[in-house]
Amino acid sequence: MADQSTSNTQPTEYKSESKMKHIVSFVAMILLTVAAFVLVLRDVVPVAWVLPLMLGFAVIQVLLQLFTFMHLDQKGSLYYILFIAFGVMVAVISAAGIIFMP
């Protein structure tokens, strides 16, 4: 049967997701956003460092979003991660290709 795997491998009840996890993740995202704004609006680091640092903050924030808010940390997310990772790979190649096109 198609949904046999559901009843056999996954428990019907699971530990209720804690609101706390999402709030901690949310606060971290806010802090990362504020950090990116501070980098640009205040001269805290040399200009050459601003872009790599900002990109780093953005990547961390997106990973938090994917693995907490979008529930990729839950069991049975392997295929979801594979799909989005493949998308990201093609995306990075495409964007870099366009930017560095002679």
Binding site: M1, A2, D3, T6, Q10, T12, E13, Y14, S16, E17, K19, H22, I23, F26, M29, I30, T33, A36, F37, L39, V40, L41, V47, V50, L51, M54, L55, F57, A58, Q61, V62, Q65, L66, T68, F69, M70, Q74, G76, Y79, Y80, F83, I84, F86, G87, V88, V90, A91, V92, S94, A95, A96, G97, I98, I99, M101
Partner: protein
């Protein structure tokens, strides 16, 4: 396919309780992978052309950090309320879920109003889709994101109506879950927009 009766209990993953629901969520992640590529191409185009302003205003002259910060806060907060809605859904708390979805939609609407105000302001400053390569690539990228926000608002609203009418069950839960994933994805794209368009534009 035939519907298998699923015993609904609070605290279970309703969105993936049926085979159909599982497929819906998996297919949606595939779609999000494709969306990532779409936005990456728009980002690449923008980054390649952002200094081609002809005689129009540049990003450094146009972008207002306060407005961007407010828009970012609104969207980030709406992402959190969308998570709260999904937690309420899995507790079978229909009232709570509709409340948080309502807050999400209202935040989305206020983001959209802010963006329209911003675009109208830019047009008065001489920054339009036609003014330069910077203008075209800017509106193509930020406009596509805005179109996603608009679609998300309409989508979530219609599914709220279905949930209000039919309740939370294995039929409505995957739809609600998938629309919430879409909403988070919109916020993910915005993280890169405020970083690579607005903040990078202010650095020059």
């Amino acid at each position: 396919m035939a519907h298998h009766p699923v015993e609904i209990k609070p605290g279970m993953h309703l969105e993936t309780a049926t085979f159909e629901g599982k497929n819906k969520v998996m297919g949606f992640w595939m779609f999000l992978g494709a969306e990532t590529v779409l936005f990456a191409c728009l980002f690449g185009t923008y980054l390649a052309l952002r200094n081609q302003t002809v005689n129009g205003p540049s990003g450094a002259e146009l972008f207002d950090p306060v407005l961007v910060a407010v828009a970012t806060a609104i969207l980030l907060f709406s992402s959190l309320t969308s998570v709260f809605a999904m937690m309420a859904m899995n507790k079978l708390d229909k009232k709570g879920m509709l409340f948080w979805l309502g807050v999400t939609v209202l935040l989305g609407l206020s983001f959209l109003v802010l963006e329209i105000y911003e675009f109208v302001h830019y047009i008065h400053e001489g920054h339009t889709f036609m003014s330069s390569a910077f203008g075209s690539s800017f509106y193509a990228l930020v406009g596509t994101h805005g179109a996603h926000v608009t679609f998300g608002i309409i989508w979530i609203s219609t599914i709220m109506y279905q949930a209000w009418k039919w309740g939370i069950n294995t039929e409505t839960a995957p739809k609600l879950f998938v629309s919430s994933l879409y909403w988070h994805f919109i916020d993910v794209v915005w993280v890169f927009i405020f970083t690579l368009v607005y903040l990078l534009g202010m650095v020059g």
